[in-house]
Symmetry: C2
Subunit: 200 residues, 2 copies
Amino acid sequence: MARAETAAIDKRRLILDAAVRVFARQGFHTCRVSDIADEAGVAYGLVYHYFSSKDEILDTLFLERWNVMLAAIAEADASQLQARDKLRAIAGFIIDSYRHDPELMKVIIVEVTRAANTFGRTHLATIRDAYAQIAGIVARAQAEGVFRTEITPEFAALAFYGAVEQVLTGWIFDSVPVDDEELERSKTLIVETICRGLEL
Amino acid sequence: MARAETAAIDKRRLILDAAVRVFARQGFHTCRVSDIADEAGVAYGLVYHYFSSKDEILDTLFLERWNVMLAAIAEADASQLQARDKLRAIAGFIIDSYRHDPELMKVIIVEVTRAANTFGRTHLATIRDAYAQIAGIVARAQAEGVFRTEITPEFAALAFYGAVEQVLTGWIFDSVPVDDEELERSKTLIVETICRGLEL
DNA sequence: GCCGACTGACTGACCGGTCAATCGATCAAA
DNA sequence: TTTGATCGATTGACCGGTCAGTCAGTCGGC
């Protein structure tokens, strides 16, 4: 029983991991469910044993990762760091996520976050949770007199997240892979560029 | 002859304009070519008389508009303005484009610029022309000692464009329409946020 | 009567999802 | 220990709907 249970969980995971590779390579709309099954080394029908639709696979991948990110943002927010360092932690988390699993980040950004007409629409509220939390950090920094109040928190959050995502998108479609050093440098660059505009 | 020619050009334009509305409403992948023909009040086959494929319609819409934007950026670049005001002009142009035709901007951003796996891929080089030109403005400002050199021009361009696009995306999917005043305020906000981080 | 704009029914490929059948682990009864 | 009943995991052929693109033909100006 334990053996079978583990095997079952593994197969589900196997399909999810295969889907990441296939979505990253071919894109969600362009790939066929059979491509995922083939990549996972699994029969076509098994995909539908674990997931009710092709969409549900992408939903699962997105929510798994986005919830981790929301938790990371909440943790940064709850910490005793300076506002600038909270934002640095968030940018750092996103960039480290890319370092750790670029294919997954590509899928999430390209197929969900930036695919506002399809999955982005479905998950709009969840995506906006992240913006709202970042806006909260900015608002608190403004109340404490660390950030100036000319720029609305919501706007600051969009600009901050937009800058991070655009940089990631640049990497995602670069032919040359990025080295760790540039990843690290970018964390500082983002915070330097955006926070300096927000601080007093 | 002149009559017929004009009529022909009109029909082509009619189809393009209808396509903007349909793409904005339903999304490129979700709509059918017949939807475009119906919206334009034209026979299905006529769409294929003027365009060789569904893709070509979107390509045309994108290139038409993007080339105008590239020209606007080049004009700002060539002007005698301060770097900050050049960037302001660019942000202003993009925001005014949205004001003038929000549906077209929605289509371009959602279906091309942010659709990195489909049309974004095809037009990647064209899209990056814009980033490169913005980077050029930043680089010149750095050489003149107006902007600090810690941040690479390429990075600054991504952050700038990313912030603008993210703000537009926010409007595009907001249920509440944006009033002119907020549009104007946003131009200043973007420049204030980003340029302040770039200036010495 | 020629030429090009225009029409819209049709087709062929494609693909998401279904389902009937098989496999194999487990366990209780013989 | 063997048998066979049970049930979830697994398989992949197949179905049905959708739609981009074709094409044979009509219409109308010159």
